[in-house]
């Protein structure tokens, strides 16, 4: 009887100490390094979810590569969500302009305007499911959607 009690207590202690290791480590990895997300919807066709319907792409959201807010034009990014009418817009300092690849089927900066860089959450760096679509996502701008004029920062 006493032996069962000590075994039970030892098990409980092992469980509690394992829990206090596993949960913080998992949460830190998901917050700082990367996590995995399923892409739903058609707003990024043809780059993501090209067949629509049954098989959704699963992408790796790379959070480590955006820790200094370094992104370039053409990257696919995820932003923390939020709520544009002018034809030409100058993107203010510290903001960026995001669009889904599938025009007309995308809720993006065309509806809610430029997005503050502080809302940047992660960069979709790889497609990891389905296996025949394993690839690294490279930055690429659609042909007619480059910036109309760029002003490089004066040093």
């Amino acid at each position: 009887m006493a032996q069962q009690a000590t075994a039970g207590r030892r098990y409980l202690r092992a469980f509690v100490s394992g829990f206090f290791v596993a949960v913080p480590v998992t949460v830190t990895v998901l917050d700082r390094f990367a996590y995995v997300a399923r892409v739903e919807g058609a707003s990024m066709q043809p780059s993501l979810n090209p067949d629509g319907g049954s098989d959704c792409d699963v992408v790796l959201l790379n959070r480590w590569s955006v820790r200094n807010y370094q992104v370039q034009r053409g990257d696919i990014v995820s932003v923390i969500t939020l709520g544009y009418k002018n034809r030409y817009v100058r993107v203010p300092d510290g903001h960026f302009w995001i669009e889904g690849d599938h025009h007309g089927h995308s809720l993006d900066s065309n509806s809610f305007g430029p997005v503050s860089v502080g809302l940047l959450h992660g960069r979709a760096s790889h497609i990891i499911w389905p296996p025949h679509r394993w690839q690294q996502i490279k930055p690429s701008l659609p042909a007619n959607r480059g910036p109309l004029d760029t002003q490089e920062e004066e040093g």
């Binding site: 206090f20 290791v21 949960v23 913080p24 480590v25 949460v27 830190t28 917050d31 700082r32 807010y69 923390i80 969500t81 939020l82 709520g83 203010p92 300092d93 510290g94 903001h95 503050s116 860089v117 502080g118 809302l119 940047l120």
Partner: protein, 170 residues
């Protein structure tokens, strides 16, 4: 001998990783200590004050009008700003100054908040750059930790810019 050193090193690295992750979770989900600088929140918070800002209210969407919050600057994500919430989404806020003859108002859009510093004369806030997205808020300042003579909770807004509505009376 070599195996013992290797074992100890691995154990040390393991403990460092574990405590580092616990520290990350504490700073991200519980709260953090912040040193404030600048005159925009005088007299409530002055230059070099140390405050404690908690994260739970922001994650549970419990930020209320009149709270002092720390947020990422909308123009430079590496800088933080400390201001008071004057209006939440849907609230009416006054956009004209206290000395203007004709008062103008606007409604805060969905998903945004309107911030103003307590030192209205020396604060760049939503009166110049407009409402900021709720997701830029990092935490709510709940306690002042330094200087010792003003330790404790922070006072209500000294400016009378918060427009109270029917639903605020509870």
């Amino acid at each position: 001998m070599f195996r013992r050193v290797l074992g100890k090193t691995l154990g040390f690295v393991g403990y460092t990783i574990q405590y580092g992750c616990i520290a990350h979770c504490a700073f991200e989900y519980v709260g953090e200590v912040v040193v404030c600088s600048g005159p925009s929140m005088e007299p409530t918070i002055v230059n070099h004050d140390v405050v404690f800002s908690e994260r739970m209210s922001r994650n549970l969407f419990k930020i209320k009008k009149g709270d002092i919050i720390i947020a990422k600057s909308p123009f430079d994500p590496n800088m933080n700003i400390c201001k008071r919430v004057i209006g939440l989404e849907g609230d009416k806020v006054c956009t004209s100054g206290p000395s203007d003859l004709f008062k103008t108002h606007t409604y805060v859009p969905k998903g945004h908040v309107w911030l103003e510093g307590d030192n209205l004369r020396n604060s760049s806030d939503s009166r110049s750059y407009g409402p900021i997205p709720y997701a830029l808020i990092r935490g709510r300042v709940c306690l002042k930790l330094w200087p010792p003579h003003s330790v404790g909770t922070l006072s209500e807004s000294p400016t009378r810019r918060i427009i109270k509505t029917q639903s605020d009376s509870d």
